[in-house]
């Protein structure tokens, strides 16, 4: 077991977001977490890498409970992770090469030639060869996400986290990102956890799907089981059917 969340609870002010989330992820697994917008998916993902601290419960990463660690103690734990953010979160003040090579340059373990070669290699993996000198503002949404993915995989992490990888992209760009995620999981043999409300994407990139509903794990199934489920909550969410009385409260 590489990650385990045990009864994780989190509230923002008076608003409870996670109300006892428990699940575990095996090494090499491709997991997708689905749920409504604002339902706490990204909050849950941020707990797994220690960007947020739970009010109660434990988050175990590689046998260590990271819930009580300080920011500095978390640094070596985070070295196992790569994360792709919803808006890619590229550093505005750095060009593509410096963004992708950020961690390698900070660690000062590689020569400039080795770094340049690694950058070229990962940009090739994400299909963006030769854009090293471009700036983030010159890139489209899809390109930014690919660069964000290149930055996340350059140091070959064990676990990749994706926060809404296809949100805000046109269908073709979303398809390209899905295929890229599947290829990265296949090639690098990493554990992958993606958060999305894009059902097409969830079905393709996850071998197992968790559904977060009202702050708890409502379903933990394979994509086939989930999409054939007769449970009204799952059925309505998966097929995008809203309730006329309560349009967005499943």
């Amino acid at each position: 077991m590489i990650i385990e969340a045990r009864n994780v609870r989190k509230s923002f002010g008076a608003l409870p977001v996670l109300q006892g989330v428990t699940f575990s992820v095996e090494k090499g697994e491709a997991l997708t977490i689905i749920g409504i917008s604002g339902g706490g998916k990204s909050v849950l993902l941020k707990h797994l890498i220690g960007l947020l601290t739970p009010d109660a419960g434990e988050v175990i990463v590689g046998g260590i409970n990271i819930a009580g660690l300080t920011e500095r103690q978390l640094l070596p734990v985070r070295r196992q992770f790569g994360m792709l953010f919803q808006g890619a979160a590229l550093f505005d003040s750095l060009n593509v090469e410096d963004n992708v090579a950020f961690i390698l340059k900070r660690e000062r373990r590689f020569s400039p030639a080795e770094i340049a070669s690694r950058v070229e290699e990962v940009l090739d993996v994400v299909g963006l060869k030769g854009i090293q000198k471009k700036w983030p503002e010159e890139l489209s949404g899809g390109m930014r996400k690919r660069v964000g993915l290149a930055r996340a995989i350059i140091y070959r992490p064990d676990i990749l986290l994706y926060d809404e990888p296809t949100t805000g992209l046109d269908p073709m760009a979303a398809d390209a990102i899905d295929k890229l995620i599947m290829r990265v999981v296949e090639q690098l043999k990493v554990t992958s956890i993606a958060v999305t409300h894009d059902m097409r994407s969830a079905r393709r990139i996850g071998r197992r799907i968790l559904m977060l509903h009202q702050g708890r794990i409502y379903a933990d199934q394979t994509p086939e089981q989930l999409f054939q489920s007769s449970d009204p909550v799952i059925h309505r969410f998966v097929n995008g059917i809203s309730d006329a009385q309560e349009p967005y409260d499943l």
Binding site: G50, M83, G87, F102
Partner: protein
């Protein structure tokens, strides 16, 4: 106590607590993680070199107006040649550090808060954390060290330009004897005044960096949040400089003079 007064007191105390924790984190970072001097150098260029013109112009016109005003009063009691001494002592121990602090708070404090605030709302600071980089090490420490290093230099520049400008106004415009003017300035400005000014400006540099970084790193979401963080960084650091200047003057005069 009304609810708004309670809220103000709570905000003030929590801000003070955050500032103290940031100082602790900065000290830990400097001790445990080596500062990247290339980043510090870039910040020295941005904070120091790019602030030079605004600080020198402020110093020059402050010195000039102080000279003219002092002359008008001193002339009545035939003390014209003491004019530059007053300008010098005023600039070295009070006006130089405070005005430089206020100008740097306006230019650099706003820029730091806006840059870090934007990074926070666009998740760039979270991205930094996922890349196993402590935001204090990468974002705060270079700015803090650079501000500490450049503030005394900027202040010294501002003071020199101010005194020189006052000397020109005194001799060319007001017709004061340049030899006596210069002699009195040297005679009445002593090392304690210079030390007072330099210690103050060093403290002001720390205040600007800590408040601006704190406001940026804890910026509320959205464009409005960045705007508010920027405004608060300038206002709070300016007020803190003015208040601490009073207490520093009392304390330093007790120990240095």
């Amino acid at each position: 106590m009304t609810s708004s007064a309670k809220q103000f007191a709570f905000d003030w105390l929590s801000g003070l607590g955050r500032g103290a924790l940031m100082c602790r984190d900065i000290a830990t970072s400097i001790c445990k993680a080596k500062p990247v001097w290339r980043d510090v150098l870039y910040q020295i260029y941005f904070i120091g070199v790019k602030s030079q013109s605004v600080v020198c112009v402020t110093g020059a016109f402050t010195g000039m107006v102080l000279c003219a005003q002092t002359y008008l009063e001193f002339h009545k009691v035939k003390m014209d040649t003491a004019t530059l001494a007053v300008v010098s002592v005023g600039m070295v121990s009070q006006l130089g550090p405070v005005l430089t602090g206020l100008m740097v708070a306006g230019r650099v404090g706003a820029a730091i808060a806006a840059e870090l605030g934007t990074m926070r709302v666009t998740e760039q600071i979270d991205a930094l954390r996922t890349l196993a980089t402590h935001p204090i090490d990468y974002l705060v420490v270079p700015r803090f060290l650079a501000t500490l290093l450049v503030m005394p230099l900027l202040t010294a520049g501002s003071i020199c330009v101010g005194i020189f400008a006052a000397f020109l106004v005194g001799t060319w415009l007001l017709g004061i004897n340049p030899t006596y003017l210069w002699y009195n300035m040297i005679h009445y400005t002593n090392m304690d005044d210079v030390m007072t000014g330099m210690i103050k400006t060093f403290v002001f540099g720390g205040i600007i960096a800590v408040i601006a970084c704190d406001k940026g790193m804890n910026c509320p979401a959205g464009a409005e949040g960045v705007g508010r963080a920027t405004t608060e960084a300038v206002v709070y650091s300016s007020i803190t400089i003015l208040i601490s200047n009073f207490f520093l003057t009392l304390v330093l005069n007790k120990f240095l003079v």
